[in-house]
């Protein structure tokens, strides 16, 4: 296992390259939207002035169903909303929570703003990196964890914080992270095993 020091990690904080696209897109990359996706997108139209404004919601809906937004999915949304793909890409790459490359099932958004930094988020990042062998922007080999950085989550009094899904983890430590990681590994392995055909 490779081990990383805090300074090494700091010097590499360059965030994810925006235009990077995965070479091995797993998951649903259908070039057509499913009926359900279309239905959900349709229900958004009433809330916006024009079709183009629904772009962000449509991307979110597609991501909900497919885990991430592939080039094919983006094109499908673009065709459905009748807006240029470049315009949709502009929206997709602006919002951090629209994933344009495959992510793991647990996306860890580690806050890197000032309070969390004072409280040692860089150290925690090194820890995660050593534990899961992933740098920010990467997904662990088992496909469970993706590590991303995020600006302030607004819980500075409970720093350092990490957002996973809709749950915010407060006052995280190496120990609490390890514990959470172990839990998640077991949880996903069990679900996978359950889903295997007998």
């Amino acid at each position: 296992m490779n081990s990383f020091s805090e300074t090494e990690v700091l010097s590499e904080i360059k965030a994810v390259e925006v235009m990077e696209q995965s070479n091995t897109p797993p998951g649903n990359t259908d070039t057509e939207l499913s009926e359900e996706e279309k239905r959900e997108i349709d229900s958004e139209f009433s809330r916006y002035e024009d079709r183009a404004s629904v772009g962000l919601e449509a991307l979110r809906i597609v991501q909900k169903h497919r885990g991430w937004v592939s080039d094919e999915s983006l094109q499908a949304v673009s065709d459905y909303l009748e807006i240029p793909p470049a315009q949709l890409e502009s929206v997709a790459t602006y919002f951090q929570l629209i994933f344009r490359q495959p992510v793991g099932r647990e996306v860890m958004l580690l806050c890197k703003s000032a309070s969390c930094w004072i409280m040692g988020c860089s150290r925690l990042q090194v820890h995660i990196r050593n534990r899961l062998q992933i740098a920010p922007g990467q997904t662990s080999e088992d496909g469970i964890f993706t590590l991303l950085e995020t600006p302030c989550l607004g819980d500075c009094d409970k720093a350092p914080v990490m957002l996973v899904g809709e749950q915010v983890h407060h006052n995280i430590t190496e120990k609490s992270i390890d514990k959470w990681i172990e839990q998640k590994i077991i949880q996903h392995k069990t679900t996978d095993a359950d889903q295997l055909p007998d």
């Binding site: 010097s11 360059k14 965030a15 390259e17 925006v18 235009m19 080039d71 983006l74 240029p84 793909p85 470049a86 315009q87 949709l88 890409e89 502009s90 790459t93 602006y94 951090q96």
Partner: protein, 945 residues
């Protein structure tokens, strides 16, 4: 006018402008990035910070952004205050944290706005020691390089490409420190104005890829004011040339925009910017060619084509002079064929040589008639041919049967701006200054009415309020109906269905309600009825009781750069090629005939049979041209003619504006201007009258003056631009910058002595750096440079205020044609020729393409690489009926000619018509049949190649 104080000086200023534009108009250097004179302010870059003081007591003031600050009467400002300077330096330092220090290998270097602004702020020390963010670049097609690391995120590119030009495939992507300007994926930029990114980008993110092929620094380019020869709009250009490193003859290296307030402003289309490379193509003629007497067996040449060999120019001129002598003695008939893509002076020289009676225009009958009609329409006192700013200020536009995005692209860009006038009016009502670009663009409200009737204009459909795809006949009927509604008498009986009558009524209402309505049409459909219809609508609008206008704006797009010029040289009713062919067929006793063809490929003008007859009827064919074309292959003697960038002369654009262009460099080999070859022959011929202007002609100005004397309408030519005697402070204007490098070294291989500067006896300019280099003195300076301003942004130093005219004498003037009211027009229902067989035939209609329809630019390497293979567009209904699928191979049959084309299906093309790309390589000889009937059949799968 408000009075403001900047750094203790009082100025009276235009209150409509923001503070930045005001400073620049006053000649005060204030750095900026995101502001653009044509696009206004968004306040993105924070570079133009100045101090604004509350009153004279205020010692500190506050920082404001010049581009976002309206000037107010009595305002106190400081540009040079330390706080402002420091702030501006800080902005540069921030921008530089990510900007690579790659100026030596960057093609923007030496004409980089970022370099200039960095110098201007005085910032020199960078404190940032971290790594810089890097990006992956995209392939953006054969015209534009992409180097994203250099980006300073000023947003000018998307503001131009998306907001101004309506492109949809270039966007800002990402966020924070990772902003990326590019496409969704690699691929050619689709918008026809993408080339302007090269000039709009303040640094080296977007650079000219065709220029990369033969790159030199801006200061090493030799420039002169020129006119784009690829359509009839007459955009001003600044071509740049320089000899290669081995000291050979100069080659043309790029074209950039040259500001002309009334025509192109700050922008060019991609055909104009990248079409220049035809002069460097393999098809270029550089030597005199003569047909060999012997015939090669099993040659691949078509019948009538000749095998040529190179002839020494002196011999060729001698041979030409003998022909001339025979003609003078009445032993030979000399016939001249003119060209709408050559200068007035070249055409006039030919006319002098052969005489008015033997001078033919080089166009087919219907093309010449159409040009004469355009000329007649423009003479009507009720009609005004608008300038580009006038087009931009129209508040209702009717486009009748002209795909201006492809026939007059710069005009389409202006119409796109006109569509925003209702929004701008709303901004005025809300007291939002028009330069507040982002605020104005956010305002609600429908765009100003733009009605597209007839031929599809895909690029403008998104801004159109009404679109009707219909045939040329229906377009004319529609115009008639509009006229009827405008005149408030019940429209004459037309074949229009009720829905179209309703549309015509709405069109009439919108146009008559507008302050400044604009009608746009042209020769694109080769339909006399459409031009007449457009003229009738404009006349009716001018006479309309509503509005107090006496004239109505009507823009008629002509096909070629000097189409309207040619129309001036021929009286209506004669001079067309069919007439000449008829004369030659009839024969003229035993007198042998020589055809002298000026810069014209006749096989693009008339059907093959007519041209073959014409050429066969002559005993000798002499051609002067730039590129080896089909006509050249049939000629006995071919003289290499100078291209626009290599010659001096005048063109008349679609609006009737005569403009002078100057030689940027001297053509390679034996290339010289066509009129010089003619003058050489005349001078070498003893029998030719010595008192004729051509015989002793030394300078092109002599021809211009003679032209002005002969044709009253062209009188303006006499005073158009200064002649070769022009001096400023005893000097001519320099074509080279004063940093032009290596003028001794470049020839050192042959000669180590410093040669005297290359003289130019013909122009008010010199081919060297010794001469006037002064932005404010003359419009002849095309090297857009001013101390401290190396980039093209220095253009503001050449203008009478931001967006104003050039300083110095104007090089363009409207020709003065005698006013003559049009007769009332009644459309005639002339149906297509009797040969039309409804069972198999469809009507071919021309589709104009930005890349491919123009003869010359199609030979430019980069443009040639994006021209489609021959295709034809068929309506969905006809396709279904004939069981034609997209991609099928079709055969078009006209007379004895066959063309194999790929089928494309269109939902908008009217039934019964087939769209054929006009002039597309491979279909050039089909062009003259458009519009017209032809048999169109599917070639069955097995037979397709």
């Amino acid at each position: 006018m408000p009075t403001i104080t900047i750094d203790g000086e009082d100025y009276e200023v235009d209150g409509e402008q923001n503070l930045l534009a005001t400073c620049l108009s006053l000649g005060i250097n204030l750095p900026y990035f995101c502001w653009h004179p044509a696009m206004g302010s968004v306040g993105a870059c924070r570079q133009c910070a100045v101090i604004e003081y509350k009153d004279t007591e205020d010692q500190h003031g506050k920082l404001v952004m010049g581009c976002m600050t309206p000037v107010k009467d009595g305002g106190l400002y400081s540009v040079i205050a330390d706080a402002a300077r420091e702030f501006r330096g800080g902005i540069i330092e921030d921008l530089m944290t990510n900007h690579p220090h790659d100026c030596p290998v960057c093609e923007e270097g030496g004409e980089c706005h970022l370099q200039d602004m960095t110098e201007m702020t005085g910032h020199v020390q960078r404190r940032y020691r971290g790594s810089k963010r890097t990006h992956r670049n995209q392939y953006l097609g054969p015209f534009i390089n992409h180097e994203m690391n250099r980006c300073i995120a000023c947003y000018r590119c998307t503001r131009f490409y998306r907001d101004y030009a309506g492109g949809s495939d270039l966007e800002s992507l990402g966020r924070n420190n990772q902003i990326y300007f590019g496409r969704q994926k690699d691929g050619m930029l689709e918008n026809g104005f993408s080339g302007n990114l090269v000039e709009v980008c303040p640094t080296g993110v977007f650079t000219d890829k065709t220029f990369s092929q033969h790159y030199v620094r801006k200061w090493d380019l030799q420039t002169a004011p020129s006119i784009c020869e690829h359509c009839a709009v007459g955009c001003n250009t600044a071509p740049g040339a320089r000899e290669p490193g081995n000291g050979g003859r100069a080659i043309l290296r790029r074209v950039t925009n040259l500001y002309h307030r009334d025509i192109n402003g700050y922008f060019l289309c991609d055909r104009g910017r990248f079409g220049y490379d035809y002069v460097n193509s393999d098809h270029r003629l550089e030597n005199v060619l003569a047909a060999r007497g012997d015939r090669l067996i099993e040659s691949t040449a078509r019948s009538g084509e000749k095998i040529h060999r190179i002839l020494p120019p002196a011999d060729a001129v001698g041979r030409f002079a003998q022909t001339l002598a025979a003609a003078q003695l009445g032993r030979r008939r000399l016939i001249g064929i003119a060209s709408p893509r050559s200068s007035l002076e070249n055409n006039f020289a030919l006319r002098q040589l052969v005489g008015g009676a033997n001078f033919f225009c080089g166009l087919a009958r219907r093309d010449l008639e159409l040009l004469h009609l355009v000329d007649r329409v423009q003479r009507d006192p009720r009609i005004h041919s608008p300038t580009t700013p006038e087009i931009e200020s129209a508040d209702a536009v009717l486009i009748l049967g002209e795909d201006i995005d492809n026939t007059a692209p710069r005009i389409a860009l202006a119409v796109r701006q006109a569509a925003r006038n209702r929004q701008k009016q709303r901004a005025r009502d809300l007291k939002i200054p028009l330069w507040q670009d982002a605020s104005v663009r956010q305002l609600d409200g429908n765009p100003s009415p733009v009605l597209l009737i007839g031929t599809g204009t895909p690029a403008l459909e998104e801004i159109a309020s009404e679109i009707l795809h219909c045939t040329a006949d229906q377009t004319a009927s529609f115009a008639t109906a509009v006229v009827g509604f405008l005149r408030r008498d019940e429209p004459e009986q037309t074949e229009l269905p009720e829905s179209l009558r309703e549309l015509a009524r709405r069109a009439a209402e919108r146009l008559s309600a507008a302050q400044r309505p604009l009608i746009v049409s042209g020769c694109g459909n080769r339909s006399v009825d459409i031009v007449n219809g457009a003229a009738a609508v404009a006349c009716a609008l001018a006479e309309c009781e509503q509005g107090d206008r006496e004239q109505c704006d009507l823009y008629l797009a002509c096909p070629e750069v000097n189409s309207l010029g040619i129309a001036q040289l021929f009286p209506p009713g004669g001079g067309q090629l069919e007439q000449l062919a008829g004369q030659l067929r009839a024969g003229d006793g035993d007198t042998p005939t020589t055809l002298v063809i000026l810069e014209n490929d006749l096989y693009r003008r008339c059907d093959r049979r007519t041209v073959d007859t014409l050429l066969a009827g002559a005993d000798e064919v002499i051609l002067l041209d730039t590129l080896l074309n089909t006509t050249a292959r049939h000629a006995d003697l071919v003289f290499p003619a100078a291209a626009t960038a290599e010659s001096e002369g005048s063109y008349i654009n679609s609006s009737g504006i005569a403009q002078r262009f100057y030689a940027v460099y001297e053509g390679a080999g034996f290339i010289q201007e066509s009129w010089r070859w003619l003058a050489n022959a005349a001078a070498a011929c003893e029998e030719y009258p010595g008192n004729d202007v051509l015989a002793g002609c030394q300078h092109v100005h002599e021809l211009s003056a003679a032209l002005a004397g002969k044709f009253p309408a062209l009188g303006v030519l006499a005073g158009l631009g200064p002649d070769e005697h022009y001096r400023i402070d005893g000097l001519k204007v320099a074509r080279q910058s004063h940093r032009y490098s290596g003028r001794t070294a470049i020839r050192a291989r042959d000669h180590v002595a410093e040669l005297p500067p290359h003289r130019d006896p013909d122009a008010p300019m010199v081919f060297s750096m010794e001469g006037i280099q002064n932005a404010a003195r003359t419009t002849l300076q095309a090297n857009i440079w001013s101390p401290g301003w190396n980039s093209n942004q220095s253009i503001q130093k050449f203008l009478q205020g931001v967006g104003g005219r050039r300083k110095g004498a104007q090089g363009s003037r409207r020709i003065e044609r005698a006013a003559q009211p049009l007769e009332d027009w009644h459309p005639q229902n002339t149906k297509a020729a009797a040969t039309f067989s409804a069972a198999t035939d469809l009507v071919l209609v021309p589709l104009h393409r930005m890349f491919g329809s123009d003869e010359l630019s199609a030979r430019a390497a980069a443009i040639a690489s994006v021209i489609d293979e021959p295709y034809a567009v068929i309506s969905a209904g006809d396709a279904e009926q004939r069981q034609i699928q997209h991609g099928d191979l079709l055969q078009i049959r006209i007379d004895s000619e066959h063309y194999a084309v790929e089928a494309r299906i269109s939902a908008t093309l009217p039934r019964g018509t087939v769209g054929v790309p006009a002039g597309l390589p491979g279909l050039e000889s089909l062009d003259c049949h458009l519009p017209g009937p032809a048999a169109v059949e599917r070639i069955h799968g097995g037979e397709s190649p």
